[in-house]
Symmetry: C2
Subunit: 338 residues, 2 copies
DNA sequence: GTCTGGCACTCGGCCCGTGTGAGTGCCAGG
DNA sequence: CCTGGCACTCACACGGGCCGAGTGCCAGAC
């Protein structure tokens, strides 16, 4: 195993490299950190760290830079989460408190996160699967045309058009609306299917077809629309990425446009606690030179969605993690209040 | 005035520069275009064009590149709109036909436009001001808490929570819902205020307060939510921008994130016909080295929103304009059908 | 008058050789 | 096990020289 000092050297290398963006050498290291040993000793340690694959040289006889594996060790064992300062937390709360609806909450969150971390922020809309039903509304737009509106406890609204085979009377409609609501309001989406299963039976023969159609559309909405939406922001921060621009940034921008990819990425993050994926740990090809810091957030104790940032592997992990965690907490609070 | 040949020279310069991204000289011009004159003559013409401010040299004794004014002339007098090929139009229609709802239409449009033009696409959601009301729904979430849902003919849904001073009975609610709908369904947003003006009077004294509240929220929604949304895509195409990357691309990315800026930009475009803003004609600072091609689209003969692309001033104007116009037409058709 | 070929001039970009400095590995001695 | 010393290696910056595309101008042809 690596000695305590060697870990200390690795930590110093990561910190310096994150700050300067330049390969760090043994001499500079001893000057900037009180390691209590000479450059020569550090060199030996560096050689050992390189053998283990934690650091690498861009070219012979230049300084060292951390590898993905090095960052991994740094995040896991050498760094904590840096809490935000009081003013920062105040600012977060103030900013988020001004939100008027769900879109606004998500929009503000994304901007906030981008600004705090100076990186690309990704915020997933609260997922439908884990939310509960606040209200289901059925409207007759035409004799044989209905609109289904689903309202969730997170404030999201989904609507669907339904073409019925046969006209559906106003009384039947009111009836269905009432029964549907009495059964599903306040229930979780996942419980809905079995709760409405037997509904058609209680209707007149003529109406059963339409009722079934409505129910299947409702269930479809619940399931299909689990396909979640997300918002991204702070792409301008990509310009701080590196020097070899076009090649680095292009695949990242492409990946960011593929919301499916991002959703998968967030989906892979742990439900609780923070997940940090570094460089090649990200499955997606365009993101192998980026790191993703993600965390779940929710109105209660359970996470309803995730948010995070995407940045260069060379990022300030403690600071980023602190910001991500803090923002997630406050967003959770805001959602709980509304 | 400039002679016919000089205009021809300008056209050739623009075309070559757009193709090669490199300053174009007199010799190369005569080789690539049948101008029927010698390089020396072209040089004289170029000198004249430069005097008039249509072209410029990046540095002494390099080729010429068009100025904003040069592009302006090119767009206004020298270039037409290049129609898309039949396969291209087919592809557009097929791609857009698969859309399932408004979000999907806008999403597909933005991707399509980005792909066709290989630039950044911007699509504004159909505006509320010009649409008509398809349905207004009122739900009682709690005795003194209502939800107002507004559905437009473009498929958009807006919801608002309303806290009432006093409880509002189910019958009054149904009454209000019915009267509201009979008055405003199918009407334009702008007409709604005067149509509902006298509604409170026809209600019991007790309910008037609540009715007024509901109406004011409705009107607020109509007016305030004129603040339009938009979707952008194809930002990865920014990497094809130029060589002096970070400096050019950063302000553009920032501007693109400011949806307000983009909405203003689109708002400045003419309602009918295509608008091309070149370089410094764009008020926003970050976009002075870009051109914006925008056009209105709509389900009927009138435009309900706008779409367009943002790209480097050095862009293929005829092709871009052709793509933008074609996409706008097909989106209009799709919206009219649904 | 207009176009053309010729000519001298300019200047950015490329190639190349050199010098410098940061960094390395290794080794002998404390 | 740590340290100072030493020889070695490269990336990179600097400067000079060459090249070539491009220009402006001018005298002569049509």
């Amino acid at each position: 195993m690596l000695s305590e000092r060697r870990l200390e050297v690795l930590r110093a290398i990561v910190q310096d490299y994150v700050g300067t963006e330049e390969p760090v050498g043994s001499k500079a290291l001893t000057e900037r950190h009180q390691l209590g040993v000479s450059p020569a000793t550090v060199r030996n340690d560096m050689a050992a760290l390189e053998d283990e694959g934690f650091i690498a040289q861009p070219h012979t006889s230049a300084g060292r830079i951390p590898t993905d594996k090095g960052y991994r060790l740094f995040v896991d064992r050498l760094a904590g989460v840096k809490p935000l300062s009081l003013p920062e937390r105040r600012a977060i709360q103030n900013f988020l408190d001004g939100a008027v609806d769900l879109d606004d909450v998500v929009g503000r969150t994304v901007r906030l996160l981008a600004q705090l971390t100076r990186q690309v922020a990704v915020v997933q809309y609260p997922s439908l699967t884990r939310s509960t039903v606040r209200h289901v509304e059925l409207l007759a737009l035409a004799p044989a045309r209905l609109m289904l509106v689903l309202i969730t406890d997170t404030g999201r609204v989904e609507q669907r058009l339904i073409d019925c085979q046969s006209p559906f009377g106003e009384t039947s409609l009111a009836d269905l609306r009432a029964r549907l609501n009495s059964r599903v309001v306040g229930r979780r989406f996942t419980d809905v299917p079995q709760l409405v299963q037997d509904l058609p039976e209680s209707f007149e023969q003529d109406d059963r077809g339409t009722v079934s159609t409505v129910l299947s559309v409702l269930l479809e909405t619940l399931v299909e629309e689990t396909e979640e939406r997300l918002m991204i922001g702070g792409t301008a921060n990509l310009t701080r990425f590196g020097h070899d621009f076009p090649l680095t940034i292009r695949p990242v921008l492409e990946a960011l446009e593929e919301h499916v990819v991002l959703l998968k990425l967030l989906g892979e993050a742990k439900d609780s606690g923070m997940t940090v994926r570094i460089g090649h740990e990200n499955a997606h090809e365009g993101l192998t030179s980026t790191s993703v810091v993600a965390v779940g957030y929710g109105s209660g104790d359970e996470a309803v969605a995730k948010l995070g940032v995407v940045g260069p592997t060379r990022m300030d992990y403690p600071g980023t993690m602190g910001a991500v965690r803090a923002v997630a907490r406050y967003v959770g609070q805001i959602l709980a209040e509304s």
